[in-house]
Symmetry: C2
Subunit: 193 residues, 2 copies
């Protein structure tokens, strides 16, 4: 068995042993809100936003982007499970600022193996084969972190399946300090009607 799999299952056994009465929690989030944020390993939304099990939906993808899939999740969150306030939280030092869709397409066409990066940019060290399929995917990179939060909040608010009265708060998590820093233009864009 893989060491990682072994470690995850061992940690899970400890969690189960101390599970308490969490088995009684209801499906709908008890605090009626949802968080959309990045998959980045340094982010622990439950810890940085004070969530206990059962409190809130957490949606995560590369960049914390308001992709169609994130909006699918948010609409389910409100329409079927009653959340009525949403957070969009990007973060400093995000990997999505370090490449472009063109770079990703080029790297994947060379090999599927993990590339390396240094001050000269990305370099593929894999042996291949690669695939040109990466050229048909929008990788949803961005250059300006605050602008990306504004764009994502605006896209959510403009969606025809999102009610006007759901406020959407735009924030950037600072990976150096753990702090949530407001993006005021995003929060303004995300105000309830």
């Amino acid at each position: 068995m893989s060491q990682i799999l072994n470690d995850v299952l061992a940690a899970n056994q400890e969690y189960v042993a101390d599970f308490g009465d969490k088995g009684d929690l209801a499906l709908p989030p008890s605090r009626h809100f949802a968080v959309l944020t990045c998959m980045d390993a340094r982010l622990d939304p439950a810890k940085f936003a004070g969530l206990a099990e059962g409190d809130a939906h957490v949606i995560r993808n590369a960049g914390g982007r308001a992709s169609d899939d994130a909006i699918r999740s948010l609409v389910i969150s409100h329409k079927l499970l009653g959340t009525n306030e949403w957070f969009v939280i990007h973060h400093t030092d995000c990997g999505m600022e370090l490449f472009t869709s063109e770079i990703m397409g080029d790297l994947l066409s060379q090999s599927l193996d993990t590339a390396t990066v240094d001050e000269n940019g990305w370099r593929d060290v894999g042996e291949g084969p690669g695939s040109t399929e990466g050229r048909y995917i929008n990788w949803m990179t961005f250059k300006d972190n605050a602008a990306s939060v504004v764009e994502d909040v605006s896209r959510i608010k403009a969606h025809p399946l999102v009610p006007n009265d759901i406020p959407v708060y735009g924030y950037i998590y600072d990976c150096r300090t753990g702090a949530l820093v407001e993006v005021p233009e995003a929060t303004t864009a995300g105000k309830a009607a």
Copy 2:
């Protein structure tokens, strides 16, 4: 200010006060793996899988489905940030088992407000207006939890941008006990080539 926003920011201040040396964590996940799971409020992947900040990517959407967006995130996770083992973790009592794309389309066409559910099924109590846009979205519901894990692991393994040598483990989180229960057919489908 909303009570929820106030509470989240207060919890964040406590997190910042006790942040320690986590500001030095590197961008790539130190334990080189990624987890794809559901947005469900009862699931805390860091707790149930034993993750500290910096350890692993966590991708979450409604159902923990291997959507195009989840695959976008997984490919970035491996190609640029070096993860080389992935988990797909669905869970018992998932909301995605309680409706169909047709039901969701009907409900949203009546109103965008939160619907109610009882033994007679979903019922829209909103005042409208609704939108027929929901009929153009695949909501990615499922009826058989284990089968959905097998499907998602199989889709990931079959993707042209996913290297053969990445093992993908299929599990179901039991909301009553906190336990991760293997879906053996999924893990077999997810084995490294």
